[in-house]
């Protein structure tokens, strides 16, 4: 932990905070550029009622004041009141949905990382053999399938045809298929990343030196090669978070999981602007946080990288 590293961390933190601020600003102004009032879609409401609602939600104030109020609220984890789910605050709804999404998402990420590193190493160590070819073909196929294709195919074949797992997320064992469909793409991606970085490392001079010194083959792989080959995988943590969070919008709808993604798509259907803004900012925060953590971790793991 030298001073150079601290400076880097502060710079990176400043960048993350600026990004968050921009996301809040973009979200706010884009949603407020919509000419229609958020209440006009509700049926059987007189102009007076809409007016009263707008005053209640603070939509009558100048835009700049509204933005500052909103920003102040977001800093206190207060995203305002939901207009579609009457009586609920956006923050409560987000936390309710997040508990489901987090358990699916983190399990999927965990599985993807463990299996991805394992398969990537297996492929690299068996370079050119049949196992490598099989892993390459399967991962190439998996990174070419959008999340909704994977999820609906799993629903059709594994749930409907084979009947191994229920099709609804709230039944026992119902979380298995959502987790599998979210983890396949990142797993394949990590496998490819790990394979190429492992091949790079295995060709390095210090590995040859270690082997020449007579270090056991297993020790060369675990102690010398794997540790260095892991760093590129860390950089994928941020994009993986983004994939899992946006993928959950599709997957949670397909398997009827009451998570954050389903909440988001539902609030789009019901044109609940406060919810759309709140969930967007929350998801963006998670992605930016993950990017920050992975960048800092990357520098910790590999001190050779220039701290610019």
């Amino acid at each position: 932990m030298n001073s150079k590293f601290l400076i880097y961390m502060f710079k990176r933190l400043g960048m993350a905070l600026l990004t968050i601020f921009l996301v809040i600003a973009i979200t706010f102004f884009v949603m407020h550029a919509i000419p229609a009032s958020p209440f006009s879609s509700e049926k059987a409401k007189s102009d007076a009622v809409i007016k009263a609602l707008e005053i209640k939600y603070g939509f009558d104030k100048p835009l700049g004041v509204q933005f500052l109020n909103y920003l102040w609220g977001v800093l206190h984890f207060d995203f305002g009141l939901s207009t579609a789910w009457v009586g609920f605050t956006v923050a409560d709804l987000i936390m309710g949905g997040f508990s489901y999404s987090a358990s699916i998402g983190f399990t999927a990420a965990f599985i993807a990382i463990i299996l991805g590193i394992l398969f990537g190493c297996l492929a690299a160590l068996n370079r050119g053999k049949w196992l490598d070819s099989v892993i390459q073909v399967v991962t190439t196929a998996l990174v070419s399938m959008p999340s909704f294709v994977v999820a609906t195919l799993l629903l059709l074949f594994v749930s409907f045809r084979l009947g191994w797992f229920p099709s609804l997320g709230n039944q026992p064992g119902g979380m298995v298929l959502p987790i599998v469909s979210l983890s396949l793409y990142p797993m394949a991606y990590i496998t490819r990343l790990q394979r190429s970085s492992m091949l790079d490392v295995l060709g390095a001079d210090y590995i040859r030196t270690a082997r020449a010194k007579g270090v056991k083959s297993s020790k060369v792989i675990y102690k010398h090669a794997l540790k260095n080959a892991l760093t590129p995988v860390i950089t994928y943590a941020g994009p993986m978070m983004a994939y899992i969070l946006t993928g959950s919008m599709v997957v949670e709808n397909i398997f009827s999981v009451p998570g954050l993604g389903r909440l988001f798509t539902n609030s789009m259907l019901r044109t609940d602007y406060m919810m759309i803004m709140g969930v967007t900012i929350f998801l963006a925060f998670m992605i930016i946080l993950m990017n920050f953590i992975s960048d800092v971790l990357y520098k910790v793991m590999d001190p050779r990288i220039d701290l610019a």
Partner: protein, 348 residues
Amino acid sequence: MPNEKIPIKNPFSLQVDPDLFKPATEEEKAQQVQMRESVSFMRDALRRLSRNRLAMVCVVLILVVALVAFLVPQFYPYSYTKQDVTSKYLHPFEYSAKEQAKIDKGVAVFPHIMGTDALGRDYAIRVIYGTRISLLVGIFSALIVIVIGIIYGSISGYFGGRVDNVMMRVVDIIYALPDVLIVILLSVAIKEMVSSSNNVLIAKLGAGMVSIFMVFGLLYWVGMARQVRGQILSIKEQEYVLAARATGASAARIIRKHMIPNCVSVIIIVAAMQIPSAIFTESFLSFLGLGVSIPMPSLGSLAADARSGLNSYPYLLIFPAMSIFLIVLSFNLLGNGLRDAFDPKLRS
């Protein structure tokens, strides 16, 4: 030794051998001609690409898919909007009672190659239109990224210094924004705006399409700009750029004539990687109902609609799923092939 033939006259003589200054014979001239014709970088790369059998298969596949997607609708007997209540949920190559009666009378009826959907529309033509949308989104997004990325990246790299610093900070900030979330947000907003205004063009294209192109124009070019800038920074130090500058070439001319041609490999690789991600994004938005507007089909919206009768009519899912899988797989493999061909250093 030829020297021995010439008698030494004095120590300061140059002692030149006149034999060395005889005109070369035809035979000697022929030896100077290069053994191999010079091969430009582009041709070399294309030759490497054509040797990659997998990449060539993908090129052919993409061309065939593109031909089908753009030519077949010209003469196909069914339209993608025509609904027919008598022919709901026909399986592939199945005929409705009405059509069967026609066939019995001896009238030729074009088969529903992929069956029909819940509204009795021919499914094959809908999948073909969906594929067309995917291809168009992929190619136009790549074009947007190429144009903006090259202009931005080359200006930043060429001028360097403070200009570069400011321009790259902007890139850093844009790079950090979560792009998919912003695409979704924009499509929600544009969809609402379309429903309350009557802009024909946006309504026709669909909120998702407009927002995808907007976001590609606003956000996705940063990867390209970074790569082009990096390349330009190293090209800038080359002698031929110095020579061009010394002879009075303008900045625009140097960038256009000397730098961008040398960035071609980077541009091609990055653009090829951009296409699958654009196709993914479009299908994702359409699946969420934010893509092209009804009744225009997209592979994503077809898959979303297929969910309602999934167990009984799985082919409604399988066909669009296969189509998107094949397109993205071919572009991915072609991208890998291009990377290997244009950047031999990166080869793994």
